[in-house]
Structures are given as C-alpha cells and as structure tokens.
Amino acid sequence: MTAFMTWLENQLAENSIFTLQTLSYYGDGLTTTVQLVFLSLVIGLIAAVPLAIGRGSKHGWIKWPIFVYTYVFRGTPLLIQLYLIYYGVVFVDGIQETWLWVILEKPFVPALIAFTLNTAAYTTEIFRGAIKSTSKGEIEAARAYGMSPRQTMRRIIIPSAFRRALPAYGNEVIFMLHASAIASVVTIMDLTGAARFVYARYYAPFEAFLFVAAIYLCLTFTILYFFRYLEKKLLAHLQPQTS
C-alpha cells in the first residue's frame, strides 16, 4: 500500500499534462458544456409542449409544418444543422450592422440555437407519443365531468403524458449531453474542446480524451440516477406493489 502511494505521488509529480493550468481548461469546458446543454434543454422543453399539442391538432396548417420541422431536424445530423446556423447566419442580409451581431458573432449562440431546435424536435415527438398514448377512458372521464378540451388537456392529458414521457426524455437529456461535444467543432471550448486543446498541445491523445471521457461518464450517470429517482417518485403508482 505504501509502495503504491509513493508510486502515485511520483506519478503526479512527474505529470506534465494535468497541471493546474490544463485542469482549469477542463473546468471551464465543463461549465460551458453544462450551460449549453442546460439552456438548450430548458428552452427546447418549453417549446416542445405547445409543439407537441399542435402536432396532434385537427387543423392541417398547424399539424403539417410541425411534422415537417420534426422530420427534418430528426432526420439530419446535428452537425449539419450547426454548420447551417453557424456559417449561414453571416449571410443574412444586413445582420452585421445590427446589435444581434454582437451575440451571434461568437459561436456560443449559434450553437445554442442549433441544439435547442434539435432537442425541441426530438422532445416534441417524445411528448407527442406520450400524449397519443393517453388512455381513452381518462379523456372520457374528463369529458363526463364537463371539462372543456382545453381543461382536459391541462388537467388530465399533459400531467399524465409528462410522466409517461419521463424515461424517453431522460434518454434525450443524455443524448443531448453527448451531442454537445459537437460544439467543439465550431471552436467552442466545451469539455471536448478542452480535450482537443490539451491533445494538440501535448500530443497526448490517451490522457486528454480518456480524462474527458471519464468526466462525461460521471455526468451521464448523474443524469441517469436523477431520472431514475424522478421516475421512482412520479411513476410510483405504476410500480408493482410490494407488500
């Protein structure tokens, strides 16, 4: 054991890659990744609820545009969407003269827009499935109580659909965390960006990428357990009873 500790100490002393400097890169990267993922998830979630309801609308002019939107954003790679927004925004006429340019010039906002649009499309479909699978009896019961369609939606369908959508949404959150690695392609210094920087600087692919992989793994498990906990709480009535 002591031999191991001295060995470890020596290893750390000889370590030229994981200095305080590089660890701070990873730290900043972690902040950027979490910000990017959290913001896009929250905005995407807020947008997805009305979209999911609209997706099931009787009116074609509401239903079809939403369908096309989700189909396109789910059917094409996120990288393409990011490139389109990141490179494309420069070519919007006159945008460089407006105040918008100040924020759009940096890659963070275009990436946030791309991620938000992407996750909103996936989340819309997840909710759509959950809304569709609401049991007929619940809706009929609501009608029998004299609730209007709007009330039924708000009081009965949405709350139960939210719960049913939870496992699939948990997967989407993890998917988004992993997808956010793409941000490093447009020069954002997120976790992967930090790893690429450390790799390029020290030419140490194993150290740089394995370390960042471990951080992602920890984040993934945190999200996983958080959603497991939520499911246990919110779906308690669906669990098999234990005596």
Partner: protein
C-alpha cells in the same frame, strides 16, 4: 437550377463514402451486438461482466470523444505495439490507421453496444418452447440459431435495429471532423470556398433525408417479411 460550382461530383463521391461507412459500420455493429447479446445471456460471469462494462462505457461517452480517442490515440497505440514487437521479437511491421477504418471501427464499436441491448431483448422475446422443439427435432445449436432463434428474434429486433440505423447514419457525419471526406466534409469545404453555406448544407441535409426515407421503406418491407405468420396474432 442550383449552381454547384463544380462541387457536384465530389458531393456524390462524399455521399458514397457516407453510405459505405454507414453500411460497413452497421455490419460490424450487428456482429458486435450479437456477440454482446450472447455474452450478456451467457452463464459465464466473466463474459457477462465484460459485456456490461462495454455497453456501459460506450453508452456513457460522446461519440465524438470516442472517435477522436480511437483516431488520434489509435495510431499511437498501434505504433507502441509495433515498436514493442520490433524490439522484443524483431518483427518489423508498419500499420497506418486511416480515417476510414478508424471511422468504421469507432462507429461499429459504439453501435455494437446499442445493438447488444436491442438483440438481447429480442432474443429473450423468443419463446423457450420453440428452442426446445428445435432441439427435440435433433437440430444442433447452430441450426437452432439459424432456423429458429434468429428469424424469430429479428421480428422483435427490427424496430430497434431500424432506430439504431437512423442514429448511426447521422453519426457518420462526425467523421468529417477527423478528416474523412464524407459528404459533410465536402459540403463544409465547398461552403467555405464559395461562401454559400445554404446551398451545400441543404443539399447534404436532403441527401440524408433521402437515405433515411429509403431505409425506412426497406425496414418496413423487412418487417413485413419477418412478421409472416404473426399478422393475425397481433
């Protein structure tokens, strides 16, 4: 018509690379997935642990990070092995990892983990009585697998398989980052050169949608084929 400014042929070539990459990694992923599924279902404690470790690790790390690890780290790793072979045994070989192989291996490895879960669920959905019946007819294990377990498992696996394929197809776009000339790479080079990102990116997006729609159709036909004999039951 749309002016491709001479990038048309390269875009088609890029699309070819994308499709080859996707199909080859799908094949690798299916093989790995079948192996993982059987390891997870086996009685061997070690095989089970190994398969679980594999699926957990792969599914917890972003595709892009794994790809960079294999691509940038792969060469150094291979060099270390060949150096060791040279100094210890005087065997002189040189292996150059190219981006295409790295891409296929990485995507195959990633989706092998996902396929493993899909196949495991599908294998477990096949009624044990079917396998016993096959054995009672005197079929060998291999024959039972080929004639009974595999065709019936596929019926349950196809929806998951088709899902994985769609995600895999989109993941191939990432190889453009490690320097492989797939259609995304061509499109991004073309957009920078011509300063017309919309034209090229939208074309590539449409090609992706086209491939996705065609494969959706193929999967629907396959599903029909494997559903034979179950049509009334469902």
């Amino acid at each position: 018509m749309i002016d491709l400014q001479g990038y048309g042929p390269r875009l088609i070539e890029g699309a070819g690379v994308t499709i080859q990459l996707a199909v080859l990694s799908l094949i690798l992923a299916i093989i790995l997935g079948l192996l993982t599924a059987s390891a997870k279902m086996s009685r061997s404690w070690f095989a089970h642990r190994l398969a679980t470790l594999y699926t957990t690790l792969i599914r917890g790390v972003p595709d892009l990070v794994l790809m960079m690890l294999f691509f940038f780290g792969g060469q150094i790793g291979v060099n270390m092995i060949t150096d060791w072979l040279y100094y210890s045994f005087d065997i002189d070989i040189f292996v150059n990892i190219n981006a295409f192989v790295a891409g296929v291996v990485t995507i195959g490895l990633i989706f092998g983990a996902y396929m493993g879960e899909t196949f495991r669920g599908a294998f477990m959905a096949v009624d044990n009585g079917q396998i016993e019946a096959g054995k009672a007819y005197g079929m060998s294990d291999g024959l039972v697998f080929r004639r009974i377990r595999f065709p019936q498992m596929m019926r349950h696996a196809l929806p998951g398989l088709s899902n994985n394929w769609m995600v895999l197809l989109k993941t191939t776009a990432l190889v453009s980052v490690i320097g492989l000339s797939d259609m995304v790479r061509v499109a991004s080079e073309a957009s920078k050169a011509t300063r017309e990102p919309f034209t090229f990116m939208i074309i590539v997006a449409l090609i992706y949608l086209l491939i996705a729609s065609v494969s959706e159709w193929i999967f629907a036909r396959l599903q029909k084929r494997y559903d034979i004999g179950y049509a009334e039951a469902d």
